[in-house]
Amino acid sequence: MTMRGVVASSAGAGETPRRSLEAPSPRYGEKAIKVFLAACGGLSVLVTTGIVLSLAFGAIDFFREVPVHEFLFGTNWAPSFTPSHFGVLPIVTGTLNIVFWALVVSVPVGLASAIYLSEYAPNRVRKTIKPMLEILEGIPTVAIGLFALMFLRPLAADVLPFLDWGGVHSIGVAGVAVGLLIIPLVASISDDAMRAVPRGLREGAYALGASKLRVSARVVFPAAISGIVAAVVLAVSRAVGETMVVLLAAGARAQITANPTDSAQTMTAYIGQTATGEIAFGTVAYYTIFAVGALLFVMTLIMNLFAIRLVRRFREVYE
């Protein structure tokens, strides 16, 4: 400021200082970085497209052999037996069972932790718990699966001895384990959503003589509801997609059941198991994997689109 003032005054009225307006160097580095970044972005788009296309082609081959309605509405799932059956409903209900139990565990616990973190926890506590949650999110799912099989399942049989615990596999135990796995996700996103609620709203409620519980439950929670719903939707997506835990803890019997002590196969468990076993390329059983994968993809896509829309609405809510 002062410098320029001095220069201008010493230059006098006649001399206009001339400084080039052109770039001093061609800046190749910057251009290279731009190309590199674009390539990275392009790669992920390419990979996604590739996945979708390979699923689609496999699924198309599958539906040449099996009618769509038989696949979608059939109740007998035995693709690698003879005679084979391709009714997908048993493994869809298997998945839904897992999702149900996962939500029963993760939504209440996750939301309670989120309310605690965002409204009650002193800063210091929050700062330690939040990163711990994020670490929990990163625990390998196979470890959780083993934990469910070796620890939760016997525990469940001890705690609830009056139930008929058949084999080592149980939908309920697997679902609960998936729930444990996604608690951090629900807690973390809901906590973010509640903390995004403007402080002014809380103060407004406190100034009316509301207690902390009332402020949390009646003002912050409803104001953050879309973000919270988005968290739940993401949790559902995650539970639908979870493979390792259900493979280990829920078993591989494709059956329509609502009994949590039964074993059941889910869509992902089917894919995981079949794709790792021996399977002849080009057979219908081979293409079945793609059909189930495509269905799974469509299901999670719909859920995620739903979640994205909710998140967007949640951003607009205070405008």
């Binding site: 103060e203 003589g209 009332r214 009646r218």
Partner: protein
């Protein structure tokens, strides 16, 4: 001394030459608030003390924001807190209904009595304090709920008995909002104008029937018409409540308040940091026409701040 303040004028109006001549109280400074802007008032009545502040200091962590304020705030008065930005007006105001408790680092020292009872006493429940001492904020902060639910929130919280529809209608009427919103009570409050939102916040506040209303720059985001409505409302509410208002608007302080406190940022004794101090506290008329401290005079005449 107030002989020349005979006209009852609540709003500023263009100055006339006569007015200027008729301002004998101030000889040496040109005060930016002209006498004609004062509300007609008799001598201020100091019936009953609502608050007694004895050596009140408020700190955030180690930094003291307000130092050693001693003043009495009176019942059925409007008390204005004025002063430059950062002098601790909001901080002081928020210590009156324990809103500062919500800031973990905030600490209040000294004695703060409400009708003789220590607001920071060991048995006092801050939630209860805020039911009795309400607050309206600078930025309108309605809940993202319907207009009706906004007003009903407080009474539902405090468990006020009675017909909720009636309570809501009464509060909105007293806030001067009823006619504008009676047909859209179920609409979201965010669809209202800023001025309407602020009056909704006032309605929400009076619906809990507090004894005191604290207002932190309630009109700073509003146009003159909305401001005028809220000022009229304050004058009306003062018949039943005590009101403490923070304002940056000298004319507003002059128009509505009975007592004015002027705070300022001062260097601490060791000259290492700054804090807010109460410079002068007196009848509004006195503060604006014949201030006892040259710093007050400089501030209200627009020389500093």
């Amino acid at each position: 001394m107030t002989n020349h303040l005979t006209q009852e004028i609540a709003r500023p109006r263009p100055a006339t030459a006569g007015d200027v001549e008729e301002a004998p109280a101030v000889q040496h400074t040109e005060i930016s608030v002209r006498p004609d802007e004062f509300r007609q008032r008799g001598p201020v009545e100091h019936k009953e003390k609502t608050f007694e502040l004895n050596n009140v200091s408020v700190s955030y962590g180690k930094a003291r924001a307000v130092n050693d304020v001693t003043m009495d705030i009176f019942h059925q008065n409007i008390t204005a807190l004025i002063g430059p930005s950062g002098c601790g007006k909001s901080t002081l105001l928020r210590s009156l209904n324990r809103m500062n408790d919500l800031i973990p680092s905030a600490r209040v020292d000294g004695q703060l009595l409400y009708h003789g009872a220590d607001i920071y006493g060991p048995k006092v429940d801050p939630v209860q304090v805020r039911k009795v001492i309400g607050m309206v904020f600078q930025k309108p902060n309605p809940f993202p709920k319907s207009i009706y639910d906004n007003v009903a929130f407080g009474p539902r919280t405090t468990g006020i008995k009675g017909d909720m529809d009636e309570i809501v209608e009464k509060a909105l009427t007293r806030a001067g909002l009823w006619d504008e919103v009676k047909d859209r009570l179920d609409d979201n409050a965010y669809g209202m104008s800023g001025g309407q939102q602020q009056r909704l916040c006032i309605a929400r506040c009076i619906a809990v029937e507090p004894d005191v209303i604290l207002m932190d720059e309630p009109c700073s985001a509003l146009d003159p018409i909305s401001t005028g409505r809220i000022e009229d409302l304050m004058l009306e509410l003062k018949e039943r409540y005590s009101i403490v208002i923070v304002t940056h608007n000298m004319q507003q302080a002059a128009r509505v308040s009975d007592m004015t406190a002027f705070l300022m940022v001062e260097l601490t004794a060791d000259e290492k940091s700054r804090w807010g101090e109460l410079i002068e506290y007196d009848d509004t008329t006195k503060i604006f026409t014949n201030p006892g401290d040259s710093r007050t005079e400089d501030y209200i005449s627009g020389k500093v701040g």
